[in-house]
Symmetry: C2
Subunit: 704 residues, 2 copies
């Protein structure tokens, strides 16, 4: 590891704020370093003590003669800044500030945090915290923290690293994993993230050869793009990144804001980002456990076909339920597979999928049969993964199965998972054998199904990444007329869309009545006032629909101009837009918002009543390609309509996808100028699409 | 317990099919009876043995001189019927048939199961199984089964009873609960349910004073109404019924069918039933654990307001997220509460909800402060329940908290739950104290939130039950003209609806052109051919919409008659229906289907494209009242439209609810005659509703 090397692997640690009161964070850190056998130098600091726990205790950082890689600060908030100044003098590289009383605690704390950062930046000290639980390097016995991370049980060594904004809750993830026998490399709690943040730590851990998998808990990030990039780097490196996002509901976001002043950000944007970066979202402690176990095997299904076998019909049914909900399909087995199974499965069992091996099948005397059954199933081209339900099978049967399955696992690249609900203490030997062979043992059939689904989604994300090529995502042309901080008129907005290849309705702009014959267009038409100063035209009485006669057209032109002038006397009015009305097809909405955290995000959704009431939308961070655009469309509940539900003609999905991808490239290329694009409605037709209205808003000068 | 008394509490047990092969189910049963100290007489049966495990072994049932309450049959399928005949001779009351090889294994097995039941019925023997794991009475050490239920770990005594169709999977529920310290009373695996079924067993367990809570796993039932009734009896008795329904997806149902030939039934009907009976649905093993812990306290929140306090901000945020998703709201705390909290919460903490006690707060020295903080919070009228996040708090802190909270729990009727992620072995003392005070300790904040939500839903279900009064649900009048096995014409169908108080569009039937002046109705009108023999009128060209002139009306009448005669020359045509078209409002669909398993079920949904594509529907088993009908409407995604979304007028929700309740009473009263009712569209208007089309189908004579 290069970045943060001496944060993670300090050769010496000073701990400021030790005392005989074991409730003091500093005391806990020093005792943990000693108890766990940290190999570097430890310098306790407290002017009132000569010694601490058998070590010489220093009056101050300045008194320490040797070089210090890392200073752990556990004094009350008011005392932190002087210590940090001493660190600056001493040219310390890293400080972990455990103390609370900063940004999270009101105006005084905000000012304190600002000054803290000032000192650190000036002296080139990198900070973890403040208001954090600290960090642990399990392999090197670095315990630069306090509280639960310094207490029993000691985490086993392993290849999982944990980064968490919340110490108390985040360490719950480590404890749940530890209980399931998962070992750790680094555990880092980031607290207020004044300086070093979760994204930077994940990036550093990607460079750590000892870290194979990363779990993170975050409440928010101020730079969604950095998270997207680090997620993609993790995906490219083949190191799965599991992430629990807290504050995903309105209520959760409020709680986060009140607690740590975290900006939680829009959850739909996070979810889009997770998909685009192959980040595995977790929302329960056991999901972290299950997915880490599953990923540890490093095997990924090539498709969603799964074969289930075992001694419990109920377990297979529960697996099938959860499988369907997470996109797995119990596959048809080939006649050859069924024939092979018939040789080794009792006749009162079942050789179709789910395969019923019958009660008591897992036993030493059946090992050869089991091996033939599992190998035959794994050889089936339709089975991309296999789940074996041991269910409540006891000690002897589980061990017999474990011996067979661990042998088979070494010969296959298809994921093989096991469901067992037997008490861990009863099947310890079997669990050991399974663990050595990296065969994940899940605690319910539904959890087994979801673990396999996570593996499948991860492989699909890697394929998406391989396809992702930002150089091919350049916008076709520079956009003219993007005046900062204004709304473009409908005409200008539609011209912009047309310039990037999105068809728009045929329009004519007139200054007043008498300029246009209705016969020159395809009736009915729509009449709308054109003014960049009137973004909400309907409110202003500036719109008339369904005009079918020339007389009605002339009248409508006069009316909308009158209405607009009455509504906004100061508005500059460029004329009246006469547009053909689109008939048939299905009304979509599309758009882009340039979010402060995530940058340009493109969305598409069902239009009209669906948009506002049913909120049937999908989004992705720009830029993206047409395949991704199709995946967005696949997420919509109204998707069947696009395929021609109710006997109507299928609509042009390819054209929609092309438009979304174009919009995303355009939004990305002009992200410095663009604030928002609304295409509403965007009509999906059997042959093509057409935007019937559009609004482009540019960024204010301060935003740009 | 009265029903099945000597099944659950046999004074003597004969076990047929013992041998030195411990894989034999009978051998496992006898050994488990002996090992666990069953107090009654045990009679092993096998003609080849003189003795078995120190007991006298009998050649046959007939050789046993004493009375036998229960016979456990573990011989291969082919040998079961002779044993059962011997039981009949011996006047045995109950038999548990462990053996497989019956209905689930093909034609021969189906015939065997039929004969088995014949023998049992003739001799008045009640059967459990076949193809089942048997039963355990934990308190009396009855082990009338084999496999995992006879193995270690022995279940602790408690007040939970488990009934499961699937032995292997169902016993996983018991194991998961046992691991969390939950004790059991009866465990019964029902297998094929040839005779005794899950519903009957639940009913019997409701009469068992030792059973306080029932957990069940079912794949299907042939009598949904019996399940509804037993669910309501459980609710009335205050014994929570937790139910895992397997085979809820298409794939899961297929797996169930292939495995046990179970009829899984429509999941949406099951879900409606669960709501109507207050059955607590579970879909994960840990949900059984969490809800049983929560229910064991017997305290229920009076509302959805919840206060959260603890040492981990992240935990509070995760709780808030899960709470919002399950209907809990972090409540505002009154100024008085906040003032009381300010006295005992450190100033860098937070006295609003979520309450931040700050790191390290849970300690012996803080016990008095904690007690004041929790009591103040519980006293807040907005807080209907309280969650305390210990998170990773260790041994000493957890015990200090447990002592305080267990004292407080005894003085409050508000639910108090705790989240702890500390390893169980680390906080064993605290868990014991919590357990004695029935303070549930949940393993994640989200699980704590969902457990509280389950308690709230249960209390709401009890209120619904108290309201439920079937005598007030009589249909207003007998329905004439329900000819068996036919479709009623639109006119007849609408007349039926009108007779139960559902408004229908104004219609006139004519025989041909020249009979009606358009001026007598409110244009536009719709013209439809009237024929009970043509249910799909649109296909037949029998419908014309939007007729605004008298000439068009005359032409349309001629055309639909011609088209219908061409489409179905044999059809009896009663004339042409001229109906006013409904304008405005929102299009719903409503209907009823008389399901083989569930009886009449009434549904309502968004109409038009929503109905077919978005499947936005809700249903309930008939009959039900208007409050229940409103709950159905509340489940619809389109619900905001009814309240007047997008600035339009609110629609008449009361009228919709009234119509649904009326339809449900009608459907229930005439369930012997009715097969299906479709009201499509049912227009919801600002003032009232109107059904614009309807189809009533009666049952075929064989169905009635």
């Amino acid at each position: 590891m290069h970045q943060f090397q001496y944060l993670f692997e300090p050769r010496s640690i000073a701990v400021v704020g030790v005392s005989d009161d074991m409730a003091r964070p500093g005391s806990q850190a020093v005792r943990a370093l000693l108890a766990n056998g940290y190999g570097g130098r430890i310098f306790p600091v407290n002017p009132k003590y000569q010694g601490f726990e058998g070590l010489r205790c220093y009056a101050s950082i300045a008194d320490i003669e040797e070089a210090i890689d890392l200073v752990v600060i556990g004094v009350p908030a008011a005392g932190v800044l002087p210590v940090l100044e001493a660190c600056a003098q001493k040219k310390v590289g890293y400080a972990v500030i455990l103390s609370g009383g900063f940004r999270e605690s009101g105006p005084e704390g905000i000012e304190r945090e600002r000054r803290m950062l000032e000192i650190a930046r000036a002296a080139n000290i990198r900070l973890l915290g403040p208001n954090c639980l600290g960090l642990v390097n399990v392999h090197s016995n670095v315990y630069a923290g306090f509280g639960s991370i310094t207490r029993e049980p000691k985490l086993a060594q392993g290849s999982v690293s944990l980064v968490t904004q919340s110490g108390g809750f985040g360490y719950s993830i480590a404890l749940a994993c530890a209980e399931a026998g998962i070992g750790f490399r680094h555990v880092v709690a980031t607290g207020n993230e004044s300086d070093i943040d979760t994204v930077q730590l994940i990036d550093a851990l990607l460079q750590d050869p000892g870290t194979q998998c990363i779990v993170a808990y975050i409440e928010g990030t101020s730079d969604g793009r950095a998270l997207l990039q680090v997620g993609r780097r993790a995906l490219a490196a083949g190191k799965p990144l599991l992430l629990w996002k807290g504050g995903v509901t309105e209520q959760g976001a409020r709680a986060a804001e009140s607690h740590t002043a975290s900006m939680t950000g829009r959850y739909d944007f996070y979810r889009a980002l997770f998909k685009q970066a192959g980040i595995v979202e977790i929302q329960e402690l056991h999901e972290a456990v299950d997915y880490l176990l599953a990923f540890s095997a490093g095997k990924y299904p090539l498709g969603n076909g799964v074969a289930v076998m075992g001694v419990s019909g109920g377990s297979a049914i529960v697996f099938a339920d959860a499988g369907e909900r997470s996109g797995l399909a119990l596959c048809e087995l080939t006649p050859a597979t069924q024939e092979a199974l018939a040789q080794v499965v009792p006749h009162i069992g079942a050789i179709h999928n789910p395969i019923d091996l019958t009660a008591g099948y897992f036993s030493r005397s059946n090992q050869e049969k089991l091996e033939r059954a599992v190998r035959a199933t794994l050889a089936d081209p339709n089975a991309h993964s296999v789940c074996i339900n041991l269910a409540t099978t006891g000690q002897a049967g589980s061990l017999a199965a474990a011996e067979v399955l661990s042998r088979i696992a070494r010969d296959t690249q298809k994921p093989l998972v096991v469901f067992s609900s037997a008490p861990v203490s009863q099947i310890a030997d079997a669990l050991r054998v399974f663990g050595e062979a990296r065969v994940p043992v899940l605690r319910s059939p539904s959890r087994a199904a979801r673990a396999l689904a996570a593996l499948l989604a991860y492989r699909q994300a890697r394929e998406r990444l391989a396809r992702h090529d930002e150089t091919s995502m350049q916008a076709p042309a520079a956009a003219a007329g993007l005046r900062p901080g204004t709304s473009l008129s409908e005409t200008e907005s539609k011209a912009l869309l047309a310039s990037i290849g999105i068809p728009v309705t045929r329009d004519v702009i007139v200054k007043g009545p008498g300029e246009i014959a209705l016969s020159s267009m395809k009736a009915p038409v729509v009449v709308k006032v054109v003014s960049a100063d009137i973004p909400h035209k309907t409110e202003a009485g500036g719109v008339r629909l369904g005009i079918a006669t020339h007389e009605a057209l002339e009248l409508a032109i006069v009316q909308v101009l009158d209405n607009a002038r009455t509504y906004a006397p100061q508005a500059r009015i460029d004329g009246v837009l006469v547009s053909e009305m689109v008939r048939g097809g299905f009304e979509l909405i599309a758009g882009m918002v340039n979010d402060d955290v995530f940058g340009p995000v493109v969305m598409v959704g069902a239009g009209g009543i669906h948009a506002e009431i049913l909120k049937d939308t999908a989004c992705r961070l720009a830029p993206f390609d047409e395949i991704t655009a199709r995946e967005m469309l696949d997420e919509l509940h109204c998707r069947p309509i696009l395929d021609g539900a109710r006997g109507s003609a299928p609509l042009d999905v390819a054209a929609i996808a092309k438009a979304l991808a174009a919009l995303s490239r355009f939004a990305w290329a002009h992200r410095a100028q663009l604030q928002e694009v609304d295409v509403n409605p965007l009509f999906a037709l059997p042959d093509g699409i057409v935007a019937a209205d559009a609004l482009v808003v540019t960024r204010k000068p301060t935003q740009a």
